[in-house]
Subunit: 219 residues, 2 copies
DNA sequence: TATTTAATTTAGCTTTGCCTAAAAATAGTT
DNA sequence: AACTATTTTTAGGCAAAGCTAAATTAAATA
């Protein structure tokens, strides 16, 4: 067993994503579901990753990344998000079309390639979905005071900075509503009944939409 | 067995490369050598590719591409050369550094990705080593009257258009001699003794170098 | 606490793609 | 034509990564 294969990288990435925000170790089932695989497969992979020292795994309890495992995960995420940026900003893909491609491109591990790509793209800080791009040294810088849009009170002004759900369907739904990263909007009214909001110049945004928009409130 | 995996694509590509220029089918040993693999592996893969209808294989005789196999090979070569162009022209890699990376990138099959990349790069006709980039429809256009530089007589002027050997070592050797695609040169003298040439402003080029340069003679 | 349910692991199978060693076929040489 | 050397194929193995089904452990419930 050499470095991290595509599979191993995807598992490490999944572990990273699933453990940020949640408490404690990641369950086998959650991992399997996230990767569209069977729990038995995830279980086997955890054993392998623990063996390699990238994961701490207590049987029947769950798994969490070791520092070295987290480092690999961050590298993969960096590659993923840089490629997504490239695909959208340079090749003109829509933001809902790039995830699957990046899911493949991210596994080409070559420090020089990624550093040159980063440079070529102007060292972007965020990917097309508003997620921060980890730096080459494995640090993640995100100083934005993000808030979920569903918390906004009537009269509030905010700028859209990211999405919680970045599935194709949701992103295309946002396209249909004219919602993009960077736009500023003002909540005119919140409806007690269903949590929806009337937004100046945008009509009604449902609670489902608001709960999946990350914003920074404007003064 | 679904589409062509990375391995299958590499074998089809090797078959294409080895059969252009040579007569008759490609031998198992040549194939294995080209891919740094064992004859037994190549033999097994030929059986598989024949099964899929991409290769004509007569036992103990050798293999050749069917039209559908050639089509796949050309697609892979198109992707390989487009990525090489991108790596050199956009990311600033040297021409001796891109082959291995392209060897991995070429296996990401996505028509939209490649068409957009092609577009983004300005639909280049040749890769950084002077090899023609197959079009999306599988045609290869190369109308250049290429000649090997070793055939040049004293007094001839020519422009360098490609290389026969595109190994890292040879390309770096050319760098050291100040030889690049596109430069024009004049042969002042050929030496009977060892086939070397004195080139105006460039000193002596050995026969080994000349035999690996593809040129177009200037009027 | 005993029992049932749910989650997790283990065991065993499959495919892909590589390998080595042995067998078979072709080619070359006396 | 017979023998030898080379090439090619076949047979049998291995590792990775997935699966299903069975066994095990933990959690929930009566
Ligand atoms: Mn993504
Ligand atoms: Mn991936
Ligand atoms: Mn190449
Ligand atoms: Mn390749």
């Amino acid at each position: 067993m050499q470095g991290a294969s595509s599979s191993r990288e995807d598992y490490l990435k999944a572990l990273y994503v699933l453990s940020t925000g949640a408490e404690g170790p990641v369950t086998t089932t959650a991992l399997a579901e996230h990767l569209s695989m069977r729990p038995a497969s995830a279980s086997g992979m955890m054993k392998q990753l623990a063996e390699a020292g990238w994961v701490e795994h207590e049987a029947y309890r769950g798994a969490s990344l070791t520092p070295s495992g987290e480092r690999i995960a961050l590298d993969v995420i960096r590659r993923h998000r840089l490629w997504e940026f490239f695909l959208v900003e340079r090749l003109g893909f829509a933001w809902d079309q790039v995830h699957e491609l990046a899911e493949r491109l991210e596994h080409i591990e070559d420090a020089e390639l990624i550093n040159r790509l980063d440079d070529y793209l102007g060292c972007p800080d965020f990917d097309p979905h508003g997620d921060p791009i980890p730096r080459a040294d494995g640090t993640v810088v995100d100083a934005r005071p993000l808030q979920v849009a569903s918390e906004l009170r009537p009269g509030a002004r905010a700028v859209i900075k990211g999405v919680v759900d970045s599935s194709d369907v949701f992103l295309r739904h946002l396209d249909a509503l004219g919602i993009r990263l960077g736009i500023e909007f003002k909540v005119v009214e919140r409806h007690e009944f269903d949590g929806s909001a009337r937004v100046e110049g945008h009509g009604i945004w449902t609670l489902g939409v608001l709960e999946n928009l990350l914003v920074v409130i404007q003064p």
